[in-house]
């Protein structure tokens, strides 16, 4: 027992008692693990394979909060629709070729899903994905906006042995230096944007243009700036300058002043979401669209376009502005039409490109399971690698096995002015449907290593 010390009213610890206590604690700490650890590593399966029971769970990890929450909400709508179609048929299940899906679940199991919030933040996305894999036992997960989030989740997917279908991610790194065996991207990338836009821009604006770039300062901005620079310079353009702007900047006046003080006659905005809306609107307020530099009309280019952004910037500001996009709801191929019809019927408005890419990749994953005849991840991955399919958009699409990038036709678009637009969703005019062959690049363009089929 504790003995009295000199301190009045206090019975303090002395060293011997502390040692005894520590020893006791150490014994408890040493024994406890053996109790809890029992059957922790009994099963040598990969991820959540094998799937037991009559249903299989997919995880959809989308930004429900943060700067890309609008995209996330649309992705989630698409995912719900995809699950509905997987279980009951309909939508692109009627147009995809080849197709092993029957519209009665996947491999005879009903598809269920759980949802998580990436908060547009890599760390939160990984925690959320971990919850899905560990607690909710998902066999695959997908979604997300922002390349940093996608890359962080891809590494986690490889670690956990659970296939990840990247959502909206446009950085070259996702299937470039950070490509992973367990990650697949259906969306296009900045390099393809450059290949598609370069010739169109040179055609429209001439070959002796001087471009000034404003670039969002993170992985996607960097790779897009590199790609657009490379492909416009190949057409004879000169890159005057580039300024990296912090992500989430609201006031671009200092950067735009630098543009005005240069002799540039084209402004390239490597911005996305709210950044693009702010920088474009402010550039218009600076009078850049009426400006003449060296006898040429000043032009603005937004390499990665989306309908949600066009809507935010307003029809008057985007009129005639060139950009590229993965997909647009006005496409008239049967796959796009089937998807737009069922999406509009369910939600009352047409889907965005984020919705389309998430919808398609969920079906592609499910179809790969059917074709492989198993949920065993290495077999599913092999079934997806090198797979070609039609009916998910214009032309034939192809998942390249060496880097898991999907190649397909992409669109060069131009903003529609208030006069041309037929409604609040009709904001982009398709200038050119760039053929798959013209945006396919050799796999050696970017260095990277996919890693093993079976995670160590």
């Amino acid at each position: 027992m504790a003995k009295k010390t000199d301190t009045p009213k206090e019975r303090l610890l002395n060293r011997r008692q502390l040692l005894k206590g520590s020893a006791a604690a150490a014994v408890v700490a040493g024994l406890a693990p053996t109790f809890f650890i029992r059957n922790a590593w009994a099963e040598q399966a990969i991820g959540n394979y094998p799937v037991n029971g009559s249903s299989v769970v997919f995880g959809f990890n989308v930004p429900q909060t943060g700067s890309y929450a609008d995209e996330g909400a649309d992705e989630l709508r698409a995912y719900e629709l995809a699950v509905e179609h997987l279980n009951n048929g309909g939508g692109m299940l009627e147009t995809l070729q080849p197709l092993s899906l029957t519209g009665a679940g996947v491999l005879g199991k009903k598809v269920e899903f759980v949802v998580g919030d990436t908060q547009t933040n890599p760390d939160a996305a990984r925690t959320s994905a971990r919850r899905m894999v560990e607690r909710d036992k998902v066999i695959m997960f997908g979604g997300g906006s922002s390349s940093a989030v996608a890359i962080a989740q891809q590494y986690l997917a490889q670690e956990m042995g659970t296939v990840f279908m990247c959502g909206l991610t446009h950085s070259n790194d996702t299937t470039g230096k950070d490509r992973r065996r367990y990650g697949f991207r259906h969306f296009f990338n900045a390099y393809m944007s450059g290949m598609a836009l370069g010739p169109v821009l040179a055609d429209a604006y001439g070959k002796d243009r001087r471009a000034f770039h404003l670039t969002a300062d993170y992985t996607w901005g960097h790779t897009q700036y590199q790609s657009i620079k490379q492909f416009t310079e190949a057409e004879g353009w000169t890159t005057v300058n580039n300024i990296m702007t912090p992500l989430g900047t609201t006031d671009y006046s200092q950067f735009l002043t630098a543009v005005l003080n240069s002799d540039a006659d084209v402004l390239v905005l490597n911005h996305y979401g709210k950044d693009m809306i702010n920088s474009l609107t402010q550039a218009v307020q600076f009078g850049m669209r009426e400006l003449q530099v060296g006898g040429k009309d000043m032009q603005i280019v937004v390499p990665l376009y989306s309908r949600l952004m066009a809507k935010g910037a307003g029809a008057a500001n985007i009129e005639g502005v060139f950009g590229s996009t993965n997909w647009n709801w006005t496409l008239d191929d049967p796959g796009s039409q089937a998807f737009v019809a069922s999406f509009s019927e369910k939600y009352g408005f047409p889907p965005s490109q984020a919705a389309q890419t998430c919808y398609v990749q969920t079906l592609m994953y499910a179809d790969a399971c059917e074709r492989a005849g198993t949920f065993y991840p290495p077999e599913v991955i092999k079934a997806l690698e090198g797979h070609s399919f039609t009916g998910a958009g214009p032309g034939e699409a192809f998942f390249r096995g060496e880097d898991h990038q999907c190649f397909k036709d992409i669109l060069v678009v131009q903003g529609k002015g208030p006069g041309e637009s037929s409604g609040e969703f009709d904001l982009l005019k398709i200038v050119q449907q760039v053929k798959r062959e013209d945006v396919t690049y050799p796999v050696q363009t970017f260095e990277g290593d996919l890693g093993p089929y079976e995670p160590a």
Partner: protein, 355 residues
């Protein structure tokens, strides 16, 4: 003045540590009963350690650092780089991380501890933000910039791969140790000095105490806790997000401490557990409105429970008549004031009746 009205006795201390240890070690079990999962338990422990160290600074001395992410993040990056480029072994990585952190704490402490109150908070925030900006720009080659530091390494401790349970136990050991050390600091003469800094640093200085040395010690100790937590974070998940250096990490830490109960040691850990549980489990039930609900809960806690969760515990005890209600975040014991006031009223009433 006594920092705490309850004395430390051997029996109590052992009881407390045993109960605490059992709760921590049993976490993967009981957390799954309430919808959690094992990896969450590990993450909760890491944040609990971070918050515990923070309480040594904020709770004891009332120095509100808004830049503790600097220590957490720096340590995470050092650990990550060591694991990726030097060796997958945990021990050198952690040692390097804590050493770098110690140096950083000494440097930052010397620069910013000369100020107090809001100036200290702003300075700590400024330095942390500088590190964050540097991590994204001049160090981007090493930190991986906005992509975060990705790696394929699987950390190993003495031949045991650090995944699942082993990494949980590693964190549990640090949390239990950290808690025991923090309790000892609290009851030591140094703890008393730190509490005195909160009360009146000028007076302490006049009595010949080297206030700077004491607060420096508290600052460095809390930085080491943050460093160990940051290091464990990367061992638990071999990935470093730039968010670890971002001010929002410091902000979350402050919120955890406040909702848990500052200067209670247990409170901030509870706060950390609550925040992570809400963010990962309750969120999946509520859906996209979860941040709104979380905000409402904060507001309610600040208004109705200014002493955080630990205040609730104290109030419950008071209700049951087992102990007098104490609130550590209020310098003077309100109970005594209340009693004095009541005595005054009674005396006044008597006088009125008499007249």
């Amino acid at each position: 003045m006594m920092p705490s009205t309850r004395t430390f006795t051997f029996g109590r201390e052992v009881m407390l540590m045993v109960v605490f240890g059992a709760l921590v070690l049993g976490m993967p079990q009981w957390l799954t009963w309430i919808g959690g999962y094992e990896a969450l338990a590990t993450k909760v422990l890491i944040w609990a350690l971070f918050a515990l160290g923070f309480d040594i600074l904020l709770g004891f001395t009332a120095y509100l650092s808004f830049g503790h992410a600097a220590f957490f993040g720096t340590s995470a990056y050092v650990t990550g780089l060591m694991l990726k480029h030097v060796s997958a072994s945990v021990i050198p990585a952690m040692l390097a991380a804590v050493t770098v952190n110690l140096a950083l704490a000494l440097l930052l402490g010397a620069l910013i501890l000369r100020r107090s109150g809001i100036y200290f908070s702003i300075l700590s925030l400024a330095f942390a933000e500088m590190l964050h900006a540097a991590g994204l720009s001049i160090f981007a080659k090493w930190t991986g910039g906005d992509n975060g530091l990705t790696m394929d390494t699987k950390p190993v401790l003495l031949g045991i791969p650090m995944e699942g349970r082993p990494v949980f136990f590693l964190c549990a050991v640090f949390v239990i140790l950290g808690f025991a050390v923090a309790r000892q600091i609290k009851r030591s003469p140094m703890g008393l000095m730190l509490q005195a800094i909160k009360e009146n640093p000028t007076r302490l200085e006049y009595s010949g105490v080297n206030v700077m040395a004491y607060k420096f010690a508290a600052y460095v100790i809390s930085a080491v806790y943050a460093g160990v937590a940051g290091s464990l974070m990367v061992i638990y998940e071999p990935y470093v997000a730039t968010k670890f250096l971002h001010w929002s990490t410091s902000g979350e830490l402050v919120v955890m401490s406040v909702i848990g109960g500052v200067n209670t040691l247990l409170g901030p850990m509870l706060g950390a557990g609550f925040m992570l549980y809400f963010e990962n489990v309750v969120q999946s039930v509520i859906g996209e409105q979860w941040k709104l609900v979380l905000g409402l809960i904060f507001v309610c806690i600040v208004i109705f429970l200014p002493g955080g969760f630990m205040d609730l515990w104290r109030r419950l005890r008071a209700l049951l008549g087992r102990a007098k209600s104490r609130r550590d975040n209020v310098p003077d014991a309100p109970g005594s004031i209340q009693e004095a006031r009541e005595a005054n009223y009674a005396a006044l009433a008597n006088m009125e009746e008499a007249s």
